[in-house]
């Protein structure tokens, strides 16, 4: 009887099965995402239909009072406002599929132009802030893991809990008060100094506070979840085994504990996108940063329906995509996870 009689699945076979699993996840999530996106956009139109908000008044602004009944009727016909909310949605969805989201009233530009112009600024601040937060969380969590329950660990935990209780806009205002008003080191808002050309130096100086606010508001949650998953790994038998081999504590934590704790951490990172977006909305508003997230607020305040609808749907798509990506990464990083989860 030879040992090759019942061979384990080879590397090729395992890879093939893995790829099939990933495909299952992608397909299943995409199928679920379609009705969600449709539902959200329908909901936005339905809300607009039942709300007391009058699109004609929003379009005309102050001139609404001056316009005669006949003028109003003609205009609402020209703007296609006489149709039911469902057919309005149908038309919107049709043109949205071809990449036309209508015209933004607040910014006097097509919605797509507004997005193209503002999205990079949002990505710059949110991305840098998040990166900073992740790096700090990793460094701090590793330090804490040397002595779980020690003074450093407890201090970091308490600080993170307190910081977590503060909304992003309070953190932003605090930073603004300390660094821009009291100390006067850094500019308090905008992309550049008034009237200055947007050069790299200008932008860099102006983005320090928004980035810091993003990092501080995302850090506590990242740190606490990473600390919790590292604490779980530290108690596992695998780590006890590694310790018994007589490795240095440093090696144990960097080479064994951290990689094992990282997979669930990355998975939750993707599901965290809604909070990052909310943080971006608030931080950009406080620092009058010309990003896309601040446009959500201005479009809501001015009832710029085309922009609001487009941003809502886009954000939903982004959130769904991020959670899909996180799940894929999780499956890739942790061979025990299967597509059923």
């Amino acid at each position: 009887m030879s040992l090759e009689a019942t061979p384990l699945p080879g590397r090729q076979a395992r890879r093939r099965r893995r790829r099939a699993e990933l495909r299952t996840i992608v397909v299943r999530r995409t199928v679920l995402a379609v009705p969600v996106v449709l539902g959200v956009s329908l909901l936005v139109f339905l809300l607009a239909a039942v709300s007391p908000f009058d699109p004609l008044a929003a379009y005309l602004g102050d001139r609404y009072v001056q316009a005669s009944v006949e003028q109003r009727r003609q205009l609402s016909e020209a703007l296609n406002l006489e149709t039911s909310w469902f057919s309005a949605w149908w038309q919107w969805a049709g043109s949205a599929l071809t990449g036309d989201f209508g015209h933004s009233r607040v910014f006097r530009q097509p919605v797509t132009a507004v997005m193209a112009e503002r999205l990079p600024w949002t990505l710059l601040v949110a991305g840098t802030g998040l990166f900073l937060a992740v790096v700090t969380a990793l460094l701090a969590a590793v330090r804490c893991a040397y002595r779980p329950g020690g003074p450093l660990d407890r201090a970091v935990g308490a600080a993170a809990t307190v910081l977590q209780g503060l909304p992003p806009f309070v953190i932003s205002l605090g930073l603004l008060g300390i660094f821009a008003v009291t100390a006067g080191w850094l500019p308090g808002g905008g992309l550049t100094d008034p009237g200055a050309e947007p050069s790299a130096g200008q932008v860099a100086r102006h983005m320090v506070l928004p980035v810091l606010a993003t990092a501080l508001s995302q850090l506590p949650w990242l740190l606490l979840s990473l600390r919790a998953s590292m604490a779980g790994v530290l108690r596992s038998d695998a780590v006890r085994g590694v310790r018994l081999r007589g490795l240095r504590e440093r090696t144990v934590i960097r080479k064994h504990v951290l990689p094992a704790a990282l997979a669930p951490f990355i998975a939750v990172l993707g599901s965290r996108l809604p909070e990052v977006i909310v943080g971006a909305v608030l931080i950009e508003t406080v620092f009058s940063w010309p990003g896309l997230a601040a446009a959500v607020v201005s479009s809501a305040q001015a009832l710029d329906f085309a922009l609001l609808a487009a941003l809502t749907v886009m954000t939903t798509v982004a959130v769904l995509a991020a959670s899909l990506l996180a799940d894929l990464l999780y499956v890739l990083l942790d061979p025990r996870v299967t597509a059923d989860v």
């Binding site: 679920l32 995402a33 009705p35 969600v36 539902g39 959200v40 909901l43 936005v44 809300l47 607009a48 709300s51 007391p52 908000f53 809990t161 307190v162 209780g165 503060l166 909304p167 806009f169 309070v170 205002l173 605090g174 603004l176 008060g177 008003v181 009291t182 308090g188 809604p274 977006i277 909310v278 909305v281 608030l282 508003t285 406080v286 959500v296 607020v297 809501a300 305040q301 009832l303 609001l308 941003l311 809502t312 954000t315 939903t316 959130v319 769904l320 959670s323």
Partner: protein, 256 residues
């Protein structure tokens, strides 16, 4: 601690009477002193009193949201568990879908359309947060579904509605309450965020959010107290409720 905060919100506006509406521009923007414990705002109103009434509004809105979310969540969760089968699966998919939408964004959309109405704020928060309660309640109801006494009542000819009322709801009540308490800090956050963005309550009505929005202007003028005290109060309130909630959790865990 929670009791202290609630007492502050309830009694201080009562004792101070109508003081918080009185504006006194000669006493505007005073730093904290013994006369004005938390300083005064741009219209000379005492922040200690104003903060208390703001907290009262915020707590009231949060409580209403949480109760509404609880009712909705308990209803959907237990019905979903009782009916089971395909309906259950569809309801769970709907919950997934609601969760996939960023909560604040949906809140902003709802509040933007119905500007300045308190009902819209409450509805926008309750409608985005009931899913957590529903999920927990469903899990609790499903866990008693297989137990003998529920089987027995089915065998005795009880209808699904009867089982739902007699067995599922009481069984899920504990966890449902805990989930509701855990919703409170969320609701406070949401209200203050919406108000801060100028989409929530109108500025003349004090709440934690509107006070923090006013603080934005104050901070630029160096009035740190207008930011620090509302922020601290918000922090203490949410931490106290969270502590209370986790206390409830450890209690109910001991029971089951």
């Amino acid at each position: 601690m929670l009791a202290g905060i609630v007492a502050y919100a309830v009694f201080v506006p009562m004792l101070a009477g109508t003081d918080q509406k009185v504006t006194d521009f000669s006493a505007a923007r005073l730093p904290p002193s013994s006369a004005h414990l938390f300083g005064t705002d741009h219209a000379g109103r005492d922040l200690f009193v104003r903060l208390a009434s703001g907290l009262r509004v915020s707590l009231l809105i949060a409580a209403l949201c949480a109760v509404l979310a609880m009712v909705l969540g308990m209803l959907v969760g237990s019905v979903s568990a009782a009916v089971g089968g395909r309906t259950d699966r569809i309801i769970m998919r709907i919950i997934d879908a609601v969760n996939a939408v960023p909560h604040l964004l949906l809140g902003v959309v709802i509040v933007a359309m119905f500007r300045g109405s308190v009902i819209a704020i409450i509805a926008s928060i309750a409608l985005t947060h009931w899913t957590q309660v529903a999920r927990i309640v469903r899990a609790e109801a499903l866990s008693v579904r297989g137990l003998e006494y529920v089987e027995a009542s089915y065998l005795l000819g009880a209808t699904r509605a009867q089982v739902l009322r007699r067995h599922f709801l009481p069984a899920a009540l504990g966890q449902g309450m805990v989930a509701t308490v855990m919703l409170l800090p969320h609701a406070i956050w949401h209200e203050s965020t919406l108000s801060f963005l100028g989409l929530g309550l109108s500025p003349d009505r004090a709440s934690l959010g509107t006070l923090l929005q006013e603080a934005q202007a104050e901070v630029l003028l160096g009035g740190w107290w207008a930011l620090v005290f509302p922020a601290l109060l918000l922090l203490c309130t949410t931490l106290a409720i969270a502590a209370c909630g986790s206390g409830l959790v450890s209690r109910t865990e001991g029971r089951s």
